[in-house]
């Protein structure tokens, strides 16, 4: 027996070493406390194990154990946000593989296993999860989709999904939808892998979000490591659970620190700044619950769950089943049944902790058609209510009156363009059928009908887009845009075109360049950047721009230190209160709704206010049946200072866009200058009509992030509109000088059947 205990002590020692290393992981090194000394003791003991007397050995083991327990308690008592991040990053933390093995009864991986896989960072499995009801076992089929970080295997890429990994996820989501089984998605990613191979990281995430917005099966997500856009690619769920020691953030604390501290590439980011940022980003489970970006926390052991915490897996299984039940039950029409069934089931067990694996009743997870409709509705309602970290300025009575008008308007448009339009189409069809069949003879009959019809439903006035001769405006050279001259033009100097060497462009005189040439090199067509006001003045019919929702303003919902000052500066600099301008406008008399992200205000980053204004603009376009244009002067991504409140704008806005497109509208996105990250990977990238202005750059992550993540440099034109077109992200490239004309053509020829002028 003694011999056996001595042999066991080897195992103990290994376990001790693991625990010490785990603490070192959390604390950022062995320097903390007496970890180094303790580890030394363990190593000494291992080499002297057989030289020591048995009782001595056990005393020593006991001592180490107690010391470790003490230290673990100490660490657990006061976990800082960066330590939570360290827990998540520890190689000892559980992964999706552990969940598949422990929470599901059987599973079959789809799209490859291990290294032989389209993207080993994304695992998809058809799995069976069981529920015990009074000693009877029921089986549920689910589609498990998630990131696999692996136990240090390099091919897993740390759980960073490549575009085709996310595509694989999307493909099996559709399979799940076809088969009518719920989706359990597990988020274990520090972020998507920022490469622009087909169709581009951002574009694939946007496609995923667009599909998930209306996926007709329940989706439950569980977040352990929620790294921004990568997380959202499979994270648009009906219920979002989060591990108590997980993190869910807009950016890694290191990335935030590099931006906040303006650290140059390759420079060292101070540890204190990283810790500071980790705290400011509000990335822990508790923070996220407060921000409502998640629905529930799944309790882990105090120092986080590791591969051998079987109790945790048991609980996780219970919670996943219960969450799926909840989603399913919410779609049911029997309210009483719903509330009964949703009561926390099972009994208290295990030192008062609520984990349990027994249910009172069995609930089937398949949905009827009407339930599916309700599921999608509820999902929309859920996300619309999220991420409201903006401020609203007090409005005057008049504009508050506007809300009442708005709801009346909704009814008006429904009748004007809905009911009547449908009716008019039928009448038209009838006339066409009758007149085609009835030849000349019948014409006498149909003609008066047609005339009467034309009188009742006059065609909306649409001006001919091409220059009409106006004797007062004698010159055809007088382009619309010469009415507004960029302030950049007020300088008597010349600049060289960046392509001068390649195309032999002549030096450009600045007043010509920014005046008549609209910032375009006449030789090679290179577009020099122009301020957003230029577009406001030149793209739309003069005087037609009417801004709305100016009372929704950017705020500092996370109380991010130092951000108030930055916000103030941006407000002073621009005279505006958010990075988005939403307005009604018209293009050759076609009324449209526009959302414009512009660079001057915090680099066009998207936070709660921007998201909310975008959503309201999109809804406005839907109720008034107008086309919706998103013109992106520049966007730098999601505003990191709003943490996950910013990230949640991705699924949120995508959902609203999806509803608009499904309602038969026309959503056009035009990228200019620089468009990167979150917004491109969601509500912009999901548009069927995306266009780049020449010389613009479109992508997921900038060159610096790519270099730092992948270790490889990228060519200078990696993000160019041309390459975005080649990889299948955008649908065309427009010249700035033809923007207005092309937009008009697009408005006339594209879009769904429910536009007011169709």
């Amino acid at each position: 027996m003694d011999q056996k205990r001595i042999l066991d002590s080897g195992k103990y020692l290994n376990e001790f070493a693991d625990r010490i290393n785990y603490l070192a992981d959390i604390k950022g090194g062995l320097e903390w406390g007496s970890l180094k000394e303790l580890l030394q003791r363990v190593q000494n003991l291992r080499s002297n194990m057989f030289d020591l007397r048995e009782d001595e050995l056990f005393v020593e083991l006991d001592q180490i154990d107690r010391r470790l327990e003490y230290m673990e308690d100490l660490v657990a008592q006061d976990l800082s946000p960066i330590e939570v991040v360290n827990i998540v990053r520890s190689p000892q933390r559980f992964t999706l593989q552990d969940i598949l093995e422990n929470c599901y009864d059987s599973f079959t991986e789809l799209g490859g296993e291990g290294e032989c896989n389209i993207d080993p960072a994304v695992v998809v499995a058809r799995a069976t999860i069981t529920r015990r009801v009074k000693n009877k076992i029921y089986y549920h089929q689910v589609m498990v989709i998630g990131h696999e970080k692996g136990y240090g295997e390099e091919f897993r890429n740390g759980g960073c999904a490549k575009p085709w990994g996310n595509e694989k996820a999307l493909r099996y989501m559709k399979v799940a939808e076809t088969e009518g089984i719920p989706i359990h998605s597990y988020i274990f990613t520090p972020g998507a892998y920022p490469i622009e191979d087909y169709p581009g990281a951002a574009q694939q995430i946007a496609r995923n979000l667009f599909q998930m917005a209306r996926l007709r099966v329940p989706v439950v997500a569980f977040i352990s490591e929620g790294g921004s856009g990568g997380a959202e690619a499979i994270g648009l769920a009906d219920i979002r659970l989060m591990a108590s020691r997980g993190y869910y953030s807009v950016i890694s604390p290191e990335g935030a620190a590099a931006i906040e501290g303006r650290i140059k590439e390759g420079g060292k980011v101070p540890r204190e700044l990283v810790e500071h940022c980790a705290a400011q980003l509000k990335m822990t489970a508790e923070d996220n619950l407060k921000l409502k970006t998640i629905d529930r926390i799944i309790q882990e052991p105090p120092l986080g769950a590791r591969r051998n915490n079987f109790g945790f897996f048991k609980q996780l299984r219970y919670e996943m089943v219960r969450a799926t039940d909840e989603v399913v039950l919410q779609t049911k029409s029997f309210r009483a049944f719903r509330s009964y069934a949703l009561k926390r089931q099972g009994k208290e067990k295990d030192n008062g902790r609520t984990f349990n694996d027994e249910f009172d009743i069995h609930i089937k997870w398949s949905l009827t058609e009407s339930e599916k409709k309700r599921l999608v509705e509820l999902r929309s309602r859920k996300y619309r209510a999220l991420g409201k970290g903006y401020k609203e300025l007090r409005q005057s009575v008049l504009s508050r009156l506007g809300h009442a008008v708005e709801s009346v308007k909704q009814n008006y448009y429904d009748i004007r363009y809905g009911l009547l339009r449908q009716h008019s189409r039928q009448v038209q069809k009838l006339i066409e059928e009758v007149s085609s069949e009835g030849s000349v003879f019948l014409k006498t009959v149909t003609e008066p009908v047609r005339e009467a019809y034309d009188f009742v439903f006059p065609k909306p006035k649409v001006a001919n887009g091409i220059n009409q001769y106006d004797p007062l405006r004698k010159s055809i050279f007088m382009q619309e845009w010469e009415q507004y001259i960029s302030p950049l033009a007020n300088e008597d100097k010349t600049v060289s075109c960046p392509n001068a060497e390649k195309y032999g462009c002549k030096d450009l005189w600045v007043p010509d360049l920014y005046g008549e040439f609209s910032g375009v090199c006449p030789t090679c067509g290179h577009h020099f950047p122009l301020e957003y006001q230029w577009y406001l003045e030149n793209l739309f019919d003069p005087g037609s721009v009417r801004e709305f929702n100016q009372h929704i303003i950017s705020a500092n919902p996370l109380k991010f230190q130092g951000f108030d000052e930055k916000l103030k500066k941006a407000v002073e600099h621009t005279g505006r209160r958010s990075a988005i301008i939403t307005f009604d406008a018209s293009v050759f008399d076609i009324k449209i709704v526009v959302a414009m992200l512009y660079s001057d205000f915090r680099s066009g980053t998207v936070g709660s206010a921007e998201g909310e204004k975008f959503i309201r603009a999109c809804d406005r376009a839907r109720t008034t049946r107008r086309p919706f244009l998103a013109y992106i002067h520049t966007t730098g991504g999601i505003r990191i200072h709003e943490g996950t409140l910013g990230v949640i704008q991705m699924p949120r806005c995508t959902l609203v866009v999806r509803e608009y497109i499904d309602s038969g509208g026309l959503y056009i996105v035009v990228y200019d200058n620089n468009s990167y990250a979150g917004p491109v990977a969601s509500f912009l990238g999901c548009s069927p009509y995306q266009v780049g202005i020449r010389s613009s750059r479109i992508g997921f992550a900038g060159p610096r992030v790519i270099r730092e993540t992948t270790g490889a440099d990228v060519p200078p034109d990696y993000h160019s509109a041309k390459n975005a077109l080649k990889r299948g992200h955008i649908q065309g490239i427009w010249d700035r000088r033809e923007f207005r004309k092309n937009l008009f053509e697009a408005l006339m020829t594209m879009g769904g059947p429910h536009l007011y002028y169709k």
């Binding site: 220059n467 004698k474 010159s475 055809i476 008597d492 005189w509 007043p511 010509d512």
Partner: protein
């Protein structure tokens, strides 16, 4: 022979006339080369204005550089890399303190951006030419056509704005064919042009409606590929017409006068003018099937109407075509001084002004803001003037330019003759291959057309040009061609 003495009288005698009026501080930078630079220098001299010239490496031996340095010293000529680089020319202007710039013809003369830049830059320089807005608006044939139509001035039937739709284009083509048939034109045809094109690129003639669509598409594709704009113009193809010009002079004070008309019908195959004659028609010399005097009056009146509408304010040429049945159509406006300006000056007399008329001098004066100080009633016309452009080219081989060295260049001296050339008389001259092989301009005056013709032929007979190319072959010029063509002037053949 009184008039001819006027032409040839020494410039020094008349130089003092306007000295008291012109702002003497003005200094002109002459941004051109060759004979026009020489003529501008002469005008400056007459006005008592300081000037500088620019030249490129190839032109360092050219007459304009020699003349400038002989008169003003080495500092009056600046070497630049390219006549077409505005940055370089403006920095020379700033360096030497020039206050006005004369673009001559070609190069920047009709570049409204250059004119605009000159006037709005931090150190403004007077652009000797019309306001830049005028250059811009009349620089486009389509735009000119539109304004003309608006003012009821006849223009060539066809589209007055780029057409983008095939249906529209076809309808217009059909209409044009129909119209020509109604007018009894035997072989009606139309031209399809790329609207963004110019200089003869992207133009095709269509003689049958059946092939129109095919040609239209071809031109549209060409235009899109070449100019990035698929706009197409369609107009009636004119044949059998005379090419006439109306010479106008306007001031910044809304004064408009004309200096008669010219006939520039004799052109090379590349549409380069070779023989010009003023006035535009001469009913006393040849019989026309229409009232020629009336047509001339008409086109002058129309030209003035347009000039007044756009507030034209410098010299300008209104180009017209007049068909055999005497119908005029406005073609375009050249917002610059033209090579052939002097034949108009030659037949004009200003009763209030002593000495010959010099349009370049008038151009500089008006551009610097002076008033004309005379009106149309002070301008009278006398005689006929013919301009001959002597070019080293092989007329029989499609007017191909000849390259080589000129060893002898001699022409007669006559009171009725004026010759402009940048080719030196005293040393061999190698024709720079970078520019047109124009050798000389000869302006002949006669009491009437018959006399002018005889004198022109006389001049051509007595002119000696010798030289050889790198293979030792003798020079080829168009002297014989000119002599033959002098007989054709002013006639509908």
């Amino acid at each position: 022979m009184q008039a001819s003495q006027q032409i040839y009288s020494s410039p020094k005698k008349t130089a003092t006339i306007f000295l008291k009026n012109i702002v003497k501080r003005d200094k002109i930078i002459i941004a051109n080369r060759g004979e026009i630079a020489i003529r501008i220098m002469r005008a400056c001299r007459q006005l008592g204005l300081d000037y500088v010239v620019v030249y490129t490496e190839e032109d360092r031996c050219s007459g304009h550089v020699r003349a400038a340095t002989v008169e003003k010293g080495e500092d009056a000529a600046f070497k630049i890399s390219n006549y077409k680089d505005p940055n370089e020319i403006f920095s020379v202007a700033d360096h030497c303190g020039a206050t006005a710039i004369h673009p001559g013809y070609g190069f920047f003369s009709e570049d409204f951006r250059f004119a605009r830049r000159a006037t709005v830059r931090n150190r403004p320089i007077s652009f000797i030419g019309p306001r830049w807005e005028v250059i811009r608006d009349l620089g486009s044939k389509i735009n000119t056509k539109r304004i003309a139509k608006f003012l009821d001035i006849p223009v060539i039937p066809g589209s007055d704005e780029p057409i983008y739709s095939e249906i529209e284009a076809e309808a217009l083509a059909e209409e044009l064919f129909q119209k020509q048939r109604e007018e009894g034109i035997k072989r009606p045809s139309i031209l399809v042009k790329a609207s963004a094109g110019g200089g003869g690129m992207g133009i095709e003639e269509v003689t049958h409606l059946d092939v129109f669509r095919q040609v239209y598409r071809r031109i549209q594709n060409y235009a899109k590929r070449q100019f990035g704009d698929e706009g197409v113009l369609i107009e009636q193809c004119m044949k059998d017409y005379h090419h006439l010009e109306v010479q106008l002079l306007c001031s910044r004070h809304k004064e408009v006068v004309h200096f008669g008309t010219r006939n520039c019908t004799i052109q090379s195959t590349g549409r380069q003018k070779r023989v010009e004659v003023a006035p535009g028609f001469d009913p006393e010399y040849v019989h026309y099937p229409f009232d020629a005097a009336k047509v001339l009056d008409e086109i002058v009146d129309y030209s003035i109407r347009l000039a007044k509408e756009v507030e034209y304010d410098n010299v300008g040429t209104w180009e017209w075509i007049v068909t055999r049945d005497g119908k005029p159509y406005l073609l375009e406006v050249n917002t610059r001084i033209q090579v052939e300006n002097e034949i108009s000056a030659c037949i004009s007399r200003i009763s209030r002004q002593k000495g010959p008329v010099n349009l370049i001098k008038e151009q500089i004066r008006t551009a610097l803001g002076e008033k004309l100080r005379y009106s149309q009633k002070h301008i009278t016309f006398e005689g006929t003037s013919i301009e001959l452009r002597i070019v080293a080219e092989d007329v029989k081989r499609g007017f191909a330019p000849w390259c080589g060295t000129i060893t002898r260049f001699e022409f007669p001296q006559e009171p009725w003759l004026r010759v402009y050339t940048h080719v030196p008389h005293d040393e061999p001259y190698e024709i720079p291959t970078e520019y047109d092989p124009n050798l000389a301009l000869a302006i002949v005056w006669g009491q009437d057309t018959e006399e002018a013709k005889i004198r022109a032929k006389d001049f051509l007979t007595r002119t000696r040009i010798e030289g050889e190319d790198s293979l030792g072959k003798p020079i080829v010029t168009n002297l014989a061609y000119l002599k033959q063509k002098v007989d054709d002037v002013l006639r509908f053949l």
